[in-house]
């Protein structure tokens, strides 16, 4: 194995902040030079609240949400079950164990290339970091589509505007921004911008990714999706995180933690997703 491809570390980090910034949505930051210096957008961490605890047993995967001042890392998470509930109860100075950075991360657009970022709900977590990197590089044209169920769920608008990104917000119930689905907005934009060949970066629920991937493939556009998968280890040792590969290749399944979590749309068999 090429160890340099996986310069991952396990670190016990001390929480700097852990704030509820939206309904059941928390932003956590902690200093860790080893992790921060290696982190790329699209990569993730495997986090454990208590190294002694046996229930919950498994670590939980979270995308790297961004970096602060080159030595602090952030994650953005929604409380959906017991692992995230435990996480949300932590206070400044409490510790967690984090393994990372894991996975491949996004392939950045070429110089001058137009990037369309499509985030559904917590899909904003890795795409925020990508936005940080792209807007800093200053040689891409970036447009972001951000969709949430309702206005209560909306987070990070100010921060994204602060990064100077061209932003379109949708909510399913129309309580904030445009009423509708983020995928429709992305689709319309593609139709309007027919002269350009943008590259799409999408993260969100499986159904959203499926729609975007299939449409991007149909339009013959480059498209990267950041997949989720039920992860046992995040380290490539359990083969739990299988995603069906398209075509009948040598590799019937990809492993999201190792081969992903970012995949080019045509790599995945979307029929079974």
């Amino acid at each position: 194995m090429d160890k340099s491809r996986y310069p991952m570390v396990e670190e016990v980090v001390s929480i700097g902040f852990n704030r509820e910034i939206g309904k059941d949505t928390f932003l956590m930051g902690f200093p860790c030079v080893a992790l921060t210096s290696r982190a790329k957008p699209g990569q993730f961490l495997m986090i454990q609240v208590d190294r002694q605890a046996k229930d919950p047993l498994l670590r939980r995967p979270f995308s790297i949400h961004g970096v602060l001042d080159s030595n602090r890392l952030m994650i953005l998470y929604k409380v959906v079950g017991k692992g995230t509930a435990l996480l949300s109860a932590l206070r400044e100075g409490d510790t967690i164990s984090a393994i990372g950075p894991l996975g491949n991360g996004f392939t950045l657009p070429g110089p001058g290339e137009r990037a369309l970022l499509v985030a559904g709900g917590m899909g904003i977590a890795p795409l925020f970091f990508l936005t940080q990197v792209l807007t800093r590089a200053q040689n891409h044209s970036v447009k972001m589509f951000l969709g949430f169920p309702t206005s209560q769920d909306v987070v990070l608008i100010d921060q994204l505007k602060g990064l100077g990104v061209d932003l379109s917000l949708t909510t399913e119930d129309g309580s904030l921004g445009i009423k509708g689905l983020v995928t429709d907005l992305w689709d319309q934009t593609l139709s309007q911008e027919s002269t350009q060949k943008p590259v799409t970066y999408a993260c969100g629920p499986a159904s959203m990714l499926k729609e975007i991937a299939q449409k991007a493939i149909a339009r013959n556009l480059r498209c990267y999706v950041c997949l989720e998968g039920y992860m046992g280890c995040g380290l490539g040792i359990c083969q739990g995180c299988a995603a069906k590969a398209a075509g009948s290749k040598d590799k019937p399944y990809y492993y999201v933690c190792q081969d992903g979590p970012v995949f080019s749309a045509e790599m995945i068999d979307w029929e079974v997703m």
């Binding site: 194995m1 160890k3 996986y6 310069p7 991952m8 570390v9 396990e10 454990q48 190294r51 046996k54 229930d55 919950p56 047993l57 498994l58 670590r59 393994i99 998968g229 039920y230 992860m231 046992g232 280890c233 380290l235 490539g236 040792i237 359990c238 083969q239 739990g240 995180c241 299988a242 995603a243 069906k244 019937p252 399944y253 079974v272």
Partner: protein, 325 residues
């Protein structure tokens, strides 16, 4: 500081430098955890289960967490014995710990053929035989759930290789001692206990099984008391070395298995949660021996005190009618 304790143990024709072995299916093909520590420091490494042909494995979801446990239905996904020997094994040459292959098949002949393929291969120190797979020639019940078919598998593997053969038992049986005895009689050099327990989980919201395969195998801390009991039963039943596993998370758990008589232990699910689990167990056992002034780990093995544990019970011992629990 005193001299380091002797940690080496003999697991039936294979002497390993310490009793801590990485369990099959939870340590990849052997070097995936190298970024965290040098795998050479382990007693041995058992790579993921190999079959004659590459196997795609089951559709996802393949794993689900349960209380203190992990339910998996990976489907024994693997690249096949040929690709393993040709592509993976050479890169493992730098690892100084013995590499043990874990094999499975669907017919007795599959097993025999796997043994033949491995026989000549340098760099494979021993063979662990997973008999928890369905026997397609006999209705699909796992080989390991019947003493005869378990013995026949063991017999054919032993016949076709000179490497030490470890037979890995399934816990899903009425009398594990019977299976162990059958496998011992067939010539196995050692026995590992236990593979996963059959289980399932249901998603109430969708009314579907949480695993695409419906049924999976339960591992992790939840199964430790049952695994320990089974190891104890097998130790009583056979004379060949027994390797204990099931829910071992730390050196303290490892000691429980050694005390009931396991000659070595395997670390499975713990590797997934804590990539340094196995090496921390090696270090924990070393420190324990130093602290307790134990010169040789073999002093611990089977040292469970069962006599005189309570006075009043002695009389009862003869009385078979005593209810157990």
């Amino acid at each position: 500081m005193g001299a380091l304790p002797e940690l080496s143990v003999d697991i039936g024709g294979l002497k390993i430098k310490n009793p801590v072995i990485a369990a099959s299916g939870t340590f990849g093909y052997g070097d995936e955890l190298a970024p965290f520590y040098d795998p050479s420091l382990l007693g041995a490494i058992i790579v993921k289960g190999l079959s004659l042909r590459p196997m795609p494995g089951n559709p996802p979801p393949r794993i689900v967490e349960t209380p203190c446990g992990l339910l998996n239905a990976i489907g024994l996904a693997n690249i096949g014995i040929e690709a393993f020997v040709g592509e993976k094994l050479p890169s493992l040459a730098t690892i100084k710990a013995p590499i043990i292959t874990n094999i499975y098949g669907h017919t007795i002949e599959d097993y025999a053929e796997m043994a033949r393929r491995i026989e000549g291969v340098k760099g494979i120190a021993a063979v662990e035989v997973n008999i928890s797979c369905p026997n397609v020639e006999q209705g699909g019940m796992a080989f390991g759930r019947d003493p005869d078919s378990a013995a026949r598998v063991a017999d054919r593997v032993v016949e076709n290789t000179t490497k030490p053969v470890i037979v890995k038992l399934t816990p899903n049986v009425t009398d594990i001692g019977l299976i162990a005895k059958a496998v011992e009689a067939a010539g196995a050099q050692s026995i590992s206990v236990t593979n996963t327990f059959l289980g399932m989980a249901v998603d109430v919201a969708t009314r579907r099984p949480k695993l695409a395969n419906m049924v999976g195998g339960l591992s992790g801390p939840a199964i430790k008391p049952m695994a320990l009991y089974l190891v104890h039963e097998v130790v009583k039943a056979v004379r060949i070395p027994v390797i204990g596993l099931g829910g071992i998370m730390d050196y303290h758990d490892a000691l429980e298995f050694l005390l009931v008589g396991a000659r070595a232990i395997q670390v499975g699910t713990a590797n997934l949660v804590n990539p340094k689990a196995a090496i921390e167990i090696v270090n924990g056992l070393t420190d324990f021996c130093l602290r307790e002034k134990i010169k040789d780990i073999n002093e611990i093995i089977g040292a469970l005190e069962t006599k005189g544990e309570d006075h009043e019970k002695k009389g009862d011992r003869k009385d078979k009618s005593k209810a157990n629990f």
